[in-house]
Symmetry: C2
Subunit: 204 residues, 2 copies
Amino acid sequence: MKLYTAAMAPNPDRVRFFLQEKGAWDQIERVEVSIMKGEHKTPAYREVSPLAQVPALSLDNGVHITESRAVCTYFESVFPEPNLMGRDGQEAAVIEMWDRRVELSYMGHIAGWFRHSHPAMAELEAPQCKEWAEICSRRAIMGASFFNERLAVSPFVAGDRFTIADISLYVCMGFGRLVKFKPWETLPALSAWRDRMASRPGLA
Amino acid sequence: MKLYTAAMAPNPDRVRFFLQEKGAWDQIERVEVSIMKGEHKTPAYREVSPLAQVPALSLDNGVHITESRAVCTYFESVFPEPNLMGRDGQEAAVIEMWDRRVELSYMGHIAGWFRHSHPAMAELEAPQCKEWAEICSRRAIMGASFFNERLAVSPFVAGDRFTIADISLYVCMGFGRLVKFKPWETLPALSAWRDRMASRPGLA
């Protein structure tokens, strides 16, 4: 199989961290796609990823998988340990719930804020909607507070162990830097959790 | 267990259709939450669903599960047949990929269009951003075209059998009516698929 990936981008990082935590990153054949050079929009790449998204996984049997969380679902089945997505139906549901809360109540707002306010995105998102960026920035701040409250009572996002939901939230922290959003500077539980995450070799 | 649900709302309908397709809807104790009366924002309901979302599932062991897709993940483990989320890692990943494409390339745009343009949402979303609704409406039209192309070459959204991704796309069709968006009137493959879906007892 072959993993199409890109450096320094949030969704590719979710898959990279996931594989690094499983100790499997170096076992996967990888192809670097330059988003800045527009390589994700070529007809050849669209054969793999019709919506021009990175990452994408191409299996030896010709099946292509895009959407970072779906790529992780596949890798969870190939590299089951350490488990990051749940060992039974209840745990899988609780982890997915927390992962979706990260995406829908936080990551999506940072994405909207960045895409509709950052000069680097002016051409790609044209027309940018500054008013929408403003709304998203307020919601991202609320999202950070929500997770600060969560991490004040839980050592990890989804409960008492490290899971994919921690990876997703940690990726948000880096993504937010693009709009100079550093909520850990004022939110103590988020800050302490982030320090613990930053010390994990898998998240480097 | 107890399922908190609401009539005529897209996310509760995803779970309802999922359970109806499994023949399990009538086996679940249900509590109707009136979103119009604001019952989802009461402190008692927030104990179950901290982000005031419907649906929510309360298990007998005290665990609460929100996020409609996570609720479906739990029910898939309790009622495994007919399988709607994949029988192995590859199939689960492909179905999740298609389900996320429905959410991210279509349903999210209808949600943005509706929330930021419909008078009924003026108070809940204040301030509404009309320019964002406009952007979302154009993207929803692109999303409908993408799925029309998909359904011209595939009998179901995720491949050759009915899955949760069909439920999600079918819910989008109903959701879009709120902004008078009826893409099936001009897109033949989407229209034919929608007719097949409408004839399923589970999707009524």
